[in-house]
């Protein structure tokens, strides 16, 4: 343990009071700018605090994010919750503990060996006098502490701690007894329940609302809210709203300004106007001339090229998005489960052209979200409606159909990969061109158009072109830069315009497609020279931690004898080439009916110091299951009129019947930085399944998902 970096949040929030509230005796309340979306961040942060401060885990409460009291730590995304908030809270805890110890020893006039330190209280063994963190929090010393940006070895030596892991989730008791409150469960007196009446597709102008229908609404005390082409209905009775939502569909008329395109999206990805950027080592993208792809005529070098395809995927939370908002005395209070709580605050104030201090966003749990789903849209829509009904709480819920059809999807994509390998098994050339729509259209105060309803409110359906992001591993080019020591790389990011569906951030952004493609292709190159999949990776890596993860995977897989008629595949990546390391192994069977059955999954991960072991396990096994679902089953279907994948029958996801046995190994790097794990497993999962399937069929299947249809088409080709 040489030094500890407090991370970016401490640059802005460097006082103990930014993170800790000791105002209730015996309880430590901890602030965080991250939200608990099921990744167990509250339990993890409480555990980190408890380990360092030696205050009992049960005495620690994590305060739900609210923009009026919490630090702004940006979006809860990109596997940065523990890396940012965890590091900041760890730093605050270290600073607190060091200064508190000094203070207590001085006040009690005793030495370190004379103290008992328990539950946040220091006791002089001889005199029984005590001083607690709670006493200390009232002093000027506490108020004056500045949390250092870096702790050196000497400071760290003073805060020995056990990396204890055995805790009960903060949320579990309420979840299993049905008492955990989600936004959906909010209930205020006189609250109005609301639903949005949606047109058939993205570009539709409201023509008229049937007059008889309006009368029926009035008779049933249902409010009709219309602004531009945005239509919602509201009632005190939630079920009445649902009933009338169905009736509304036949009584509200729209003009379709532009149809969806039902051209093959993969040919659109190739043919449409695009912006092409060169991605260089380190993962940044540049507006530079793209070099021609090389060709090889040296007989000692063999080359190969492949095109991998991935369809549109949806976030598909089990509970549709919801939000509750009130407009009272010129101020908005909005309850939301968005990952972008602070950006939402600023977007809402921008839309209403008011000071951002007049908008407070309060986090309330929703169903797991996995990126930019409908949560932001519904919160924006709830505030728009709330403005129309001052002093009334508005609880707006999306329907299942809304969530399936209107969320911003993860983009369809293409990867054109080309590589060359020499007789020594060295990869001498690697080219990967990624084609995709944007993964980054989260709402912000400069991009209100990213709210789906903004178009309808303003009746402006002109499509704005997204701009390519250039920073390292951002969006389409996440993990496009291979982590391996290939001799020469040619990496191209293509942001393709005018694609049919609305897209934004889905867990891992471009990394899932890029890693699935490149880790599959790496195996194909290796097999030309009969090189073992572990060896080809190990031979092109020199990062010790990467090698350790691969070796751990091999050892775990070798421990189990393969089942009859089963096939295995492996893959590896380091998320963003800077976060956690992860190697995945899969064993599967393919039935006569070309159904893929997952038997066993091995995951080896190094996420730095283990903040909370069960949390990491849940994230990587959960991430595997979600990515396996993308790989095996998922694709958004649509035609020129509408999204066809409106429910769970038309958009199949994995069920309990295809969950493998897991062997998950987590390598602890105590003292090293926390590396987030929320997204680390997805890419290697797609590739490990792809590689196992390739072994089973003797042929690479290049189109996701691996449904019977897609497999058959490729086998017949």
């Amino acid at each position: 343990m040489n030094q500890f970096n407090s991370g970016p949040s401490v640059n802005t929030y460097n006082k103990l009071s930014h993170w800790f509230d000791f105002s209730n005796p015996g309880i430590l309340k901890v602030y965080s700018g991250k939200i608990d979306i099921g990744q167990h961040i509250s339990s993890t942060l409480a555990l980190i605090t408890s380990k360092i401060t030696e205050i009992k885990y049960d005495q620690i409460e994590i305060i739900k994010l609210s923009t009026d009291i919490s630090p702004n730590e940006g979006i809860t995304a990109s596997s940065l919750s523990v890396a940012n908030s965890g590091s900041a809270i760890k730093a605050a805890s270290i600073a607190l503990k060091i200064i508190f110890l000094n203070y207590a020893l001085e006040k009690l006039k005793i030495k370190n060996e004379d103290i008992l330190f328990e539950n946040g209280v220091i006791k002089d063994k001889n005199s029984n006098k005590t001083i607690s963190y709670w006493d200390f929090s009232k002093t000027d010393e506490f108020r004056e502490v500045i949390i250092p940006e870096i702790f050196d070895e000497n400071s760290l030596k003073k805060i020995n701690y056990e990396n204890n892991q055995k805790i009960e989730l903060k949320t579990i008791n309420e979840i299993i007894t049905g008492k955990y409150k989600y936004v959906h469960d909010i209930n205020f007196p006189k609250m109005l329940h609301s639903r949005i009446v949606r047109p058939p597709s993205y570009h539709c102008k409201l023509i008229k609302v049937n007059e008889d229908f309006k009368k029926r609404l009035v008779e049933n005390e249902i409010e009709l809210f219309v602004k531009g082409s945005f239509v919602a209905i509201l009632s005190l009775d939630e079920f009445l709203v649902i009933k009338f939502l169905e009736i509304a569909k036949n009584n509200i008329f729209w003009e379709e300004i532009q149809q969806l395109s039902n051209n093959n999206v993969f040919s659109s990805l190739e043919k449409h106007e695009k912006e092409s950027l060169l991605v260089k080592s380190g993962g940044e993208a540049f507006y530079e001339e793209i070099p021609e792809k090389k060709s090889f005529d040296d007989p000692k070098i063999e080359s190969l090229s492949t095109i991998f395809k991935k369809s549109y995927l949806m976030h598909g939370p089990i509970g549709p998005s919801a939000s509750c908002a009130i407009y009272n005395d010129k101020e908005f209070t909005v309850f939301s489960h968005s990952q972008s709580i602070f950006a939402l605050k600023h977007s809402i104030s921008k839309y209403f052209d008011i000071d951002s201090n007049l908008v407070t966003l309060k986090f309330m749990p929703g169903s797991g979200c996995y990126g930019h789903n409908g949560a932001d849209d519904v919160a924006f829509e709830a505030s728009v409606i709330a403005k129309g009904y001052p002093e009334r709480y508005i609880l707006l819920k999306w329907t299942r159909e809304d969530e399936h059809s209107w969320e911003p999807y993860g983009s369809a994509s293409l990867n054109k990969v080309f590589g060359a390998i020499n007789d020594d098994g060295e990869i001498v050339y690697w080219s990967n061109e990624a084609y995709s729509d944007t993964y980054l259209s989260r709402p912000s105060d400069i991009e209100l158009n990213n709210f789906i309803s903004f178009k309808f409110l303003t009746n402006n359906f002109v499509k704005t072109k997204s701009k390519p992001k250039t920073s390292a591993h951002m969006g389409i080019h996440r993990n496009l830069d291979p982590i391996y020591n290939f001799k020469e790389n040619r990496l191209v990011k293509n942001l393709v315009h005018d694609l049919p569906l609305r897209t934004s951030a889905l867990r891992t952004l471009g990394a899932f497609a890029n890693i699935t493609a490149s880790e599959s292709f790496l195996n194909d190159l290796a097999s030309i020279k009969n090189i073992d999949p572990f060896d080809i990776r190990i031979n092109h890596l020199d990062d010790e931690r990467a090698l350790a993860v691969l070796k751990s995977l091999k050892k775990e897989m070798d421990f189990f004898k393969p089942k009859e008629d089963s096939f295995r595949g492996i893959a590896f990546s380091r998320y963003k080439n800077s976060a956690a390391y992860c190697a995945v192994g899969v064993e599967l069977n393919v039935t006569d009916d070309l159904e893929i059955k997952l038997n066993h999954a091995w995951i080896s991960v190094d996420a730095g110091e283990i903040a909370y072991e069960d949390g990491i396990k849940a994230q990587v096994e959960g991430g595997f299951i979600q990515a396996a679902s993308w790989t095996l089953y998922e694709e958004v279907i649509f035609d020129s009129k509408e999204i066809i994948s409106k429910d769970w029958h038309s958009y199949k996801i994995i069920g309990f019947d295809n969950i493998p046995v897991f062997t998950t190994s987590i390598i602890d790097q105590k003292g090293c930085a926390y590396l987030g794990v929320g997204e680390v497993v997805a890419g290697p999962t797609g590739a490990a399944i792809s590689n196992a399937l390739c072994n089973a069929l003797g042929q690479r299947i290049k189109t996701l998902p691996f449904t019977k249809d897609n497999i058959t088409k490729e086998l017949l080709n």
Partner: protein
Amino acid sequence: MSKVECELNINGLSKKINIHNDKPLIYVIRDDFGLTGTKLGCGLEQCGSCAVIIDGEKKLSCNLLAIECEKKEIITVEGLQIESELNHVQEAFRKFNAAQCGYCTSGIIISVTALFDKNQNPSSQEVQNALDGHLCRCGSHSVVLRAIDSLIEN
């Protein structure tokens, strides 16, 4: 739109309510009884998050008419505790921290409870059948299965 009177017994509490005759049970549970542990996921009998136990059988409450549940014993996740102690399925889920966002969890606990109420030692096929139709998007499946396995081993 006229309403009818209906008497329902949920978690041992009987209550007379005036409801639309096409009101699905889930809205009565959540709105009229204020029990929000039962979750609406799809309203289409496709996800399992609205599961409750009716006369000992697991049922999906999102499309089931409330008026058809008169004179039946309805148990929701809030009613599983026995004298405020967790039932053995909840206890296993607690021990294994078997949830992520938790939105799907109450429906799953209901189905597993209904299974174990009938059969203390179900086969893995019977467990699979009980979980058929329960969707979880966070991927809590592996830890849920470990929690269930612990019940069988015990």
